[in-house]
C-alpha cells in the first residue's frame, strides 16, 4: 500500500484484514507499582503504515515491544496480542512457546530499534549480522545474502562496502539503513520501527522515510512507525495513533488527525510543533510536563495540562469515543476541543471541511462503558477552520 492509497481510510476499517491486534495491553514494572503501558488496544491493518506519536517517555517503545512480546525485563505484559498471518489462523503471541516465538519474530514481525549504533554488535562486521540471522532461522544463506544485497541497494547503499564494514565504520544514516535491511532479510510481513530516525538529521530522516515508503510498496509490508516527531511521520503514515501518558488518546487516519484532531493534547501538540507553514505568532508550547509512570493522575491523565478539564475529568477516565469511522479519541470533551483550541495552521491548504460529513457520529459507540457526557456531535468541530 502506498501513501496515495492511504486516502482510502475506509480500507482500514475492514476489520477482517487486521494483521496485528492488541487488546487491553498493559505493561507494569516494580511489581505492578508503575504502569508504563496502560490498557492499550489497537488494531493494525495489513499493508498499512501506522504512525505512533507521543512525547518522550509516553510508552511508545513499550507498545512496540509488546507487539513482539519482547518487553525488557523485569516488565510484565498482560492483555492480548494476536497475529493474523496471511490466510492463516489467529496466533496468540503471548501464548507461544519459545520455538514458535522465535519463528514469529523476525520471520513474521521484525523490529528496528531506536539508535542503530547500539543495535549492532560493535565487534562484528555487518555481514556477520546478516549471516547469523539467516542461520538462526535455518534460511538459505546464499539466497538470503542475495536478498540482503538487494535490500541494501534499495536503500541506496553499496552492499559490498557496507557488508564488509564494522558498524562504527558507517555513518549514522548508513547504519540505520543497514539495520532496516537486516530487519527485512527474512521477509517479514510486519516491520515495527521504534524511532528509527531519531538520531539522524532531518535530511537523512526524510530520505529514509522516502525509501521506507518504497520498500513498503515493493515488499507489501505492514509498518508500525514510532516517533515523537508528528510532522515527520505525517507524510508517511496512513493512520496515526497519539500516545499520552502510557495510553492511546487518539487514533485515526492521518488526514483526520491533522485536520480534525479531537483530543486537546493532539491539538496542543500540533500547535506546539514548529513547521514551515504555521504562522509564527500562534505557535504555543504545552504548559507543564507529562507524568511519570508512578504518579499518573487519577481520571484523565491529561487533565492537569488540559484547558478543557473539569471535575468529571478528575473522576472518570475517558473511554474511546468514535469521532468518525476509524477515528477514535479518549476525551470527555472532544467535541469542544476544536473550538477551544484552534489549530494555528491550515492543514488542508485552507479547505478543511470533509470532516463535517461524518462528524455527526455519536460518541461512545464502541466505548463499552458509554460516555455519560456523550453529546451530539453536531456542529462541534468547525472551529478549526481559519
Amino acid at each position: 500500500m502506498t501513501a496515495s492509497h492511504s486516502s482510502t481510510a475506509t480500507s482500514a476499517v475492514d476489520a477482517s484484514d487486521t494483521i496485528l491486534e492488541l487488546r487491553n495491553a498493559s505493561v507494569t514494572y516494580d511489581d505492578g507499582e508503575s504502569y508504563v503501558l496502560d490498557d492499550v488496544s489497537i488494531d493494525i491493518e495489513r499493508n498499512e503504515i501506522i504512525g505512533i506519536v507521543g512525547e518522550s517517555g509516553s510508552g511508545k517503545s513499550m507498545l512496540a515491544s509488546a507487539l513482539l512480546d519482547a518487553i525488557p525485563d523485569p516488565g510484565l505484559l498482560s492483555g492480548e496480542v494476536s497475529y493474523y498471518p496471511e490466510g492463516g489462523d489467529r496466533v496468540d503471541v503471548l501464548d507461544l512457546d519459545a520455538a514458535s516465538l522465535k519463528e514469529l519474530r523476525w520471520e513474521e514481525i521484525s523490529m528496528v530499534f531506536q539508535g542503530a549504533m547500539s543495535s549492532f554488535n560493535p565487534t562484528m562486521k555487518v555481514r556477520g549480522h546478516f549471516e547469523e540471522t539467516l542461520d538462526a532461522h535455518d534460511a538459505d544463506r546464499k539466497a538470503g545474502m542475495a536478498r540482503a544485497g538487494e535490500l541494501l541497494e534499495d536503500l541506496y547503499l553499496d552492499p559490498e562496502r557496507v557488508l564488509d564494514s564494522y558498524p562504527h565504520e558507517l555513518s549514522g544514516g548508513m547504519q540505520q539503513r543497514a539495520l532496516i535491511a537486516l530487519s527485512l532479510v527474512l521477509e517479514p510481513d510486519v516491520l515495527v520501527m521504534d524511532e528509527p530516525t531519531a538520531a539522524l538529521d532531518l535530511l537523512m530522516q526524510r530520505s529514509i522515510l522516502v525509501l521506507l515508503e518504497k520498500l513498503q510498496e515493493k515488499y507489501d509490508l505492514t509498518m508500525v512507525f514510532i516517533t515523537h516527531d508528528l510532522p515527520l511521520v505525517a507524510s508517511l503514515a496512513d493512520r496515526l495513533a497519539v500516545m499520552y501518558a502510557f495510553e492511546l488518546v487518539e487514533v485515526g487516519p492521518t488526514e483526520e488527525i491533522l485536520g480534525h484532531a479531537s483530543h486537546p493534547y493532539t491539538r496542543a501538540l500540533l500547535n506546539a510543533t514548529p513547521n514551515l507553514d504555521a504562522p509564527l505568532e500562534e505557535m504555543e508550547a504545552i504548559e507543564g510536563s507529562s507524568p511519570a509512570p508512578i504518579n499518573v493522575p487519577e481520571g484523565c491523565s491529561f487533565r492537569p495540562r488540559c484547558p478543557l478539564a473539569d471535575e468529571s475529568c478528575r473522576v472518570d477516565a475517558p473511554e474511546h469515543s468514535e469521532v468518525v469511522d476509524d477515528h477514535t479519541v479518549a476525551c470527555h470533551y472532544w467535541e469542544e476541543s476544536a473550538e477551544e483550541i484552534p489549530l494555528n495552521y491550515a492543514p488542508d491548504g485552507g479547505t478543511p471541511d470533509s470532516v463535517d460529513t461524518d462528524g455527526g457520529t455519536p460518541a461512545g459507540v464502541d466505548a463499552a462503558g458509554g460516555a455519560p457526557d456523550g453529546v451530539d456531535a453536531d456542529g462541534d468541530d468547525g472551529g478549526e477552520r481559519r
Partner: protein, 344 residues
C-alpha cells in the same frame, strides 16, 4: 564586552529575588549545608549499601584497634610476659594464645595495627595521589607534557613491582611505615595514572568543561571543580585497591624476611612462626601463624567491601535519592552504570 554596570540597564530582570529569604544564608546555615553535603549524605549513602556498611565496620574496627594500640590501652607485646605456647582461649588473659617466647599474640597483632594502617594509608595516598596529579595534568595539558609524563609512566610500569620493592627494601632498609608504604607503591601509580589520564581525556571533552573554558575559568579551577570530582568514584575504588596491595606486598615481603624487622608487623609474626616454630607443621604453634593471617584477610576483606560500595558515595544520584530528595521525571534514568566500576 559590555561594562558590568550594564546589569542595571537590564530592565526585564528584577535582580532581587522574590524569594529573598532563600538567598540569605547565615554562617550557621552554610556550616549546616557543608555538614549535610560532606558528612551526612555521604555517610547515609555509604551506610545504605551492605558492602560499604560491612567494609566500614571492619576498617573502623581496625582503626579503633590502632588507636587502642597507639594510646597504649592494650599492653604491648613483650617476651616472657606469659607462659610459652598458650593455645587460643586457654588463658583468657591471652585470648589468642602466646608464642614460643611467651609473647601475647593478641598484643602482637594489636600493636602491629597502627603501623600497618599508617603504611596502608601512606601507600594508597601516594599511589592514587601521584596517579591523579600526573594523570590529570597529562590528560588535561596534552601535548608534550602528556607525552613526557606518559613516557615516564610507561617506563615505570615496565618495572616489575615486587622485585623492585625487594631491591629497594634491601638498599634502603626503610623502617618508617610511611616510607615503606610509599616504597611499596613506588611504581604502582603508573597504571592508575594512565587510566586516569584516559578518563580525564573523556571528561575533558564533556560540554560542561568546554562551558567552563568558555567562561574563562582558569585551568586549575576546572581541574579542581569539573575534573577531579568526577574522577572520585574511580579514585576511591583504586585507593582501596592500592591499600590492599600494600597489605599484601608488605606482609609478603616481611614474610620473606626481606623487610627490616623494626616494630611489630603481622608479616614478621608470620615469618617467625613459620621459620622458628615450624608453625605450618605443628598444631601447637599453628595459632601463631593463623592469627596474623586472619588479621590480614579481614582487613583486606573490609577494604574490598569498602571499595565495592564506595563509588556510590560520590554519585550525586544515589546521594539525593537516599537523602529523600525529589527527582524529576526526566532525570530518572536508572542508576548510573558506573556504579559497577570494578576494581582491578
Amino acid at each position: 564586552m559590555k561594562p558590568t554596570e550594564a546589569d542595571s540597564q537590564v530592565g526585564g530582570v528584577d535582580w532581587s529575588s522574590s524569594n529573598a529569604a532563600a538567598t540569605d544564608l547565615s554562617r550557621m546555615d552554610r556550616y549546616r549545608d557543608l555538614y549535610q553535603e560532606r558528612v551526612y549524605k555521604p555517610a547515609l549513602v555509604a551506610w545504605s549499601d551492605w558492602r560499604t556498611r560491612f567494609g566500614l565496620l571492619i576498617v573502623g574496627f581496625y582503626v579503633v584497634i590502632a588507636l587502642i594500640a597507639a594510646l597504649g590501652l592494650y599492653p604491648s607485646p613483650e617476651t616472657n610476659q606469659a607462659p610459652r605456647y598458650l593455645l587460643p582461649l586457654e588463658n583468657m588473659n591471652y585470648v589468642l594464645g602466646t608464642t614460643a617466647t611467651g609473647t601475647d599474640l593478641l598484643a602482637l597483632l594489636v600493636h602491629a595495627t597502627p603501623e600497618m594502617m599508617l603504611m596502608i594509608t601512606s601507600g594508597a595516598i601516594w599511589a592514587t595521589g601521584v596517579a591523579v596529579v600526573l594523570g590529570t595534568v597529562a590528560g588535561f595539558k596534552g601535548g608534550t607534557t602528556d607525552r613526557v609524563l606518559m613516557a615516564i609512566a610507561d617506563f615505570v610500569m615496565a618495572i616489575p613491582g615486587l622485585p623492585l620493592i625487594m631491591i629497594l627494601a634491601i638498599a634502603f632498609t626503610p623502617e618508617n611505615p610511611l616510607v615503606l608504604g610509599v616504597l611499596i607503591t613506588l611504581n604502582y601509580w603508573a597504571g592508575l595514572g594512565r587510566s586516569i589520564r584516559s578518563q580525564v581525556l573523556t571528561i575533558r571533552e564533556q560540554n560542561y568543561v568546554e562551558a567552563s573554558r568558555t567562561m574563562g575559568t582558569p585551568t586549575h579551577r576546572i581541574i579542581r571543580k569539573d575534573i577531579i570530582p568526577n574522577l572520585m568514584p574511580y579514585v576511591t575504588v583504586n585507593f582501596v585497591t592500592a591499600a590492599r596491595y600494600v597489605i599484601f606486598a608488605s606482609v609478603g615481603l616481611y614474610f620473606l624476611g626481606v623487610l627490616p624487622i623494626g616494630a611489630e608487623n603481622w608479616g614478621i609474626t608470620m615469618y617467625l612462626a613459620y621459620s622458628t616454630a615450624g608453625a605450618l607443621y605443628t598444631i601447637e604453634a599453628a595459632h601463631w601463624l593463623i592469627a596474623p593471617m586472619l588479621a590480614i584477610l579481614f582487613l583486606s576483606l573490609g577494604l574490598i567491601l569498602l571499595g565495592q560500595g564506595m563509588d556510590r558515595v560520590f554519585n550525586p544520584r544515589v546521594r539525593t535519592r537516599l537523602a529523600g530528595e525529589s527527582e524529576s521525571t526526566a532525570g530518572s534514568e536508572e542508576e548510573d552504570s558506573n556504579a559497577s566500576t570494578e576494581i582491578l
